[in-house]
């Protein structure tokens, strides 16, 4: 200790001088935007884990089947009342979902609907009021129902349901791998984007090159991951076949769900005839 006190540390001269280096400002919104959109995707996949499978959980296969059916009916129908009834039904389901999920579903469907409304505006003024109003409301109904499906069920249960619909195994395999690797490659490329952001001090005139570098490296990395993964899969005895383990039984919510949807189908035919 004493030694340390006695010892005089000589600081080099340059450390005292004030630095007034001001890096040139550069527009790097493209990095921020890329980070944000990759981040959005990754967080969306992560959110899957927080989903609970217990309360008011409708059988996923049923949910997918009736969501698709509802979208088809919505697309065919010419009755505005039917569309409004479906929207009211969807909104009432929405009101049962948790607040943060509800906000996310609504945010998405409203933004798509507004976009459609803007696109349809000229048609409205040209006197084509029917299709502009009809399409806008239909778009709201379809996006809300898709949002309800994708935000309320785990994605691996959606692939499980695809197996029930006799989608070929190779396709499910590819789909499964894709979702996992969107996450892994996304994480990988996001780190590179952060690195690019941190290291771009001042003007960076090689923006295109650096973006292309990130995309290219991601591609090369994906090639390496593929081989590793296949070997890992083989080692664990994966033969490319999928089997459904839990044969879920219908619960009372499922019967209510079926009843509501059959009601919707009947309503559809009622309004089509009228």
């Amino acid at each position: 200790m004493d030694n340390l006190k006695d010892h005089k540390i000589e600081m080099p001269e340059w450390i005292y001088s004030n630095e007034n280096y001001i890096p040139l400002t550069d527009k790097d919104t493209f990095i921020n935007k890329s980070i944000l959109s990759v981040f959005h995707v990754i967080s969306r996949i992560r959110m899957q884990d927080s989903l609970d499978n217990s309360r008011f959980k409708i059988n996923v296969s049923l949910n997918i089947f009736f969501t698709f059916l509802l979208i088809v009916l919505l697309s065919i129908t010419k009755s505005f009342i039917f569309v409004v009834i479906v929207i009211v039904y969807l909104l009432s389901i929405l009101s049962f979902t948790e607040a943060d999920r509800l906000v996310k579903i609504l945010k998405f469907s409203i933004s798509v609907t507004l976009f459609t409304a803007v696109i349809m505006l000229p048609a409205f003024f040209m006197g084509n009021s029917y299709s502009s109003i009809m399409i806008t409301t239909k778009v709201f109904a379809t996006t809300t129902s898709m949002g309800l499906l994708s935000y309320s069920s785990k994605w691996n249960s959606i692939t499980e349901a695809l197996k029930l619909f006799h989608v070929p195994d190779i396709f499910i395999l590819i789909l499964d791998i894709t979702i996992k690797y969107i996450f892994m490659l996304g994480d990988y490329s996001m780190n590179m984007l952060y690195a690019l952001k941190l290291r771009s001090v001042g003007k960076n005139s090689n923006k295109y090159t650096s973006m292309a570098g990130i995309a290219g490296t991601t591609f090369l990395q994906s090639k390496e991951m593929v081989t590793d993964m296949y070997h890992a899969m083989e080692c664990r005895g994966f033969t490319g076949e999928y089997h459904i383990c839990n044969k879920s039984k219908f619960k009372w919510v499922d019967y209510i769900f079926i009843a509501i949807n059959v009601g919707a189908i009947l309503l559809f035919f009622h309004f089509e005839r009228a």
């Binding site: 959109s37 894709t178 490329s189 591609f219």
Partner: protein
Amino acid sequence: MHIPDNYLSPSTCALMSAAMVPVWTRAVKKVKEEIPKVKIPSLGVGAAFSFLLMMFNVPLPGGTTGHAVGGTLIAILMGPYAACISVTVALLIQALLFGDGGILSFGANCFNMAFVLPFLGYFIYKAVKDNMKSEKGEYLGIILGSYVGINAAALCAAIEFGIQPLLFKDAAGQALYCPYPLSISIPAMVIPHLLVAGIVEAVFTLFIVIYIKKVSPGTMYEESDEKKNAIYGLLAFLICLTPLGLLATGTAWGEWGTEEIGSVVSGGKALGFVPQGMKAGVNFKALLPDYAVNGLPEIAGYLLSAIAGVAIFIIFFKVISSFKKDKAGGKLG
């Protein structure tokens, strides 16, 4: 370019999905032949890559940003058939889980972005590359392929939109689905792609390919002696496709002619997202009637312009390649 649900009629959606079935079947078959079993997961990873590629924003002049689609890039890197499957899976995940693009219009979206875009882009790239056997030729091929690919996809989407009001009307004559005819939908879709998105796509594709070639040569897809006629086959197929527009011609073509085209201008103004498109929209007024050659039935006129377009296209490449040969001969002499 993702078409949402309800813009297209269910029957159009069904037709487009049906058109995709043979493409998918062939793609799966070709991929099984070309790609060893070890590489099957590469399709999934490729799909993940093509999904992520759309997340990358690149700077555009004027301070804005845009993102590329990368269909041609994936076709160049992994081969057109693998690209078809990868982009299809990426589109499915977007539609099913992210709500981007419709469920019913999935077939139409796949047709535009998983079939027309990668195949046309790849075959143009291949044709140019084979005809001008030099590095510059390859780069020109990449630029042309990705630029034409994305614009062709946009044009297909525009045609799908544009035929809706002609085919599907209610008793009062009001359009049931997308209300804009071809005269509005084509400039609205194609002009932004010609001016902005196509350039982003071409530059981004070129830079990535150059990067990968530099860092890791040999990872690129090499075609196993495919018949060169493939490009002509595809072009012939595309000519056959133009009758998609034919469906629309028939009686309706003349009906909306003058009044509707006149409204392109006001439509363009209100649409808002094609600022440059407004002026071009006016030019379009003069261009469009030429599609129907005077004195010919509309169908024949439509086909004729399609064939002429392709012929000009082939001539263009022949001229380029002969120019190249001359140069080589000159050097020898």
